[in-house]
Amino acid sequence: MERRLVLRVLNYWRHLAGEKEFPSIDEIDASDIPEIWPNCFLLDSSGNPDDPVLMDIGDQLQKDLGGDAKGKPISEVINESLLSAALGHYRQVATKKVPISLGGEYTKNDGTQVLYRSIILPLSGDGENIDKFFGAANSRLVSTS
């Protein structure tokens, strides 16, 4: 799987955090990372920690969803999509308060097998409480040959 995406996102997050524990959502700027932004997403859990809202979503993830998910709670994100797979561990990130990268496999509605790798990183407005998340994911089809 593509590990570079995870490393680049992590590096960007560390750069923004600097000496702080967590960066804030205001520091995330899509123009800083144009080459990976299509695979990124932002979650807001400040309203409902159990069902965060997708604040922003990159074109690649949007395309995979087949519809506009921006502004919707994650409970409305269709299953068997890359974003759905990538969002699976946001609760662990909220609990542990550290970036977590997971990979795996899922089956799309059309039956194709997909390998994915994702990362979710905590964001905080006050430097203590995790109220937002920054994430990224990419995938490739499993070769059947």
Binding site: R3, L7, K96, S101
Partner: protein
């Protein structure tokens, strides 16, 4: 068996979870990158394996990088280099001192030798003068008698 790789950083006397991966290579790559950055005195990766059948978790450190170790190694190299330079300087200084001593000894010997000849000449001159005085006195006495 469920395996996770915790990247931990050491700061202000304690280890702290920095990030979590399910991929060994990613964890190791990021750990090495952090260790090389010198941002933390210590970096390590702990492999956590959970055996669901036995309900047992094993922890194993699979990587440990330390800025302190690097600095100690560099300090030891510097110390060895300084000691070697000091030894070379001391040896050189001893050689110079030995040469100076030889030159001083030769000069002293030369001076002593010159002084001895001068004294000999003075003594010979003095004896000659006394002998002439005696002869002159005997000559006067002979005329008077």
């Amino acid at each position: 068996m469920i395996t996770a790789f915790e990247l931990q950083t050491y700061n202000e006397g304690k280890w702290k979870i920095d990030s979590i991966f399910d991929d060994r290579q990613l964890a190791l790559f990021e750990a090495k990158r952090l260790a090389e950055s010198g941002r933390f005195p210590g970096v390590r990766v702990v492999q956590e394996s959970y055996d669901a059948e036995k309900d047992k978790t094993d922890f194993r450190i699979i990587y440990k990088g330390s800025r302190t170790d690097d600095e100690n190694t560099k300090a030891q190299r510097r110390e060895r280099k300084v000691k070697s330079e000091l030894a070379a300087q001391r040896k050189s200084a001893e050689q110079v001192t030995a040469v100076k001593k030889r030159v001083a000894a030769n000069a002293k010997q030369q001076a002593d030798s010159n002084q001895w000849y001068l004294m000999l000449a003075l003594k010979a001159g003095g004896l000659g003068f006394v002998a002439l005085a005696i002869l002159y006195a005997l000559h006067i006495l002979n005329q008077v008698m």
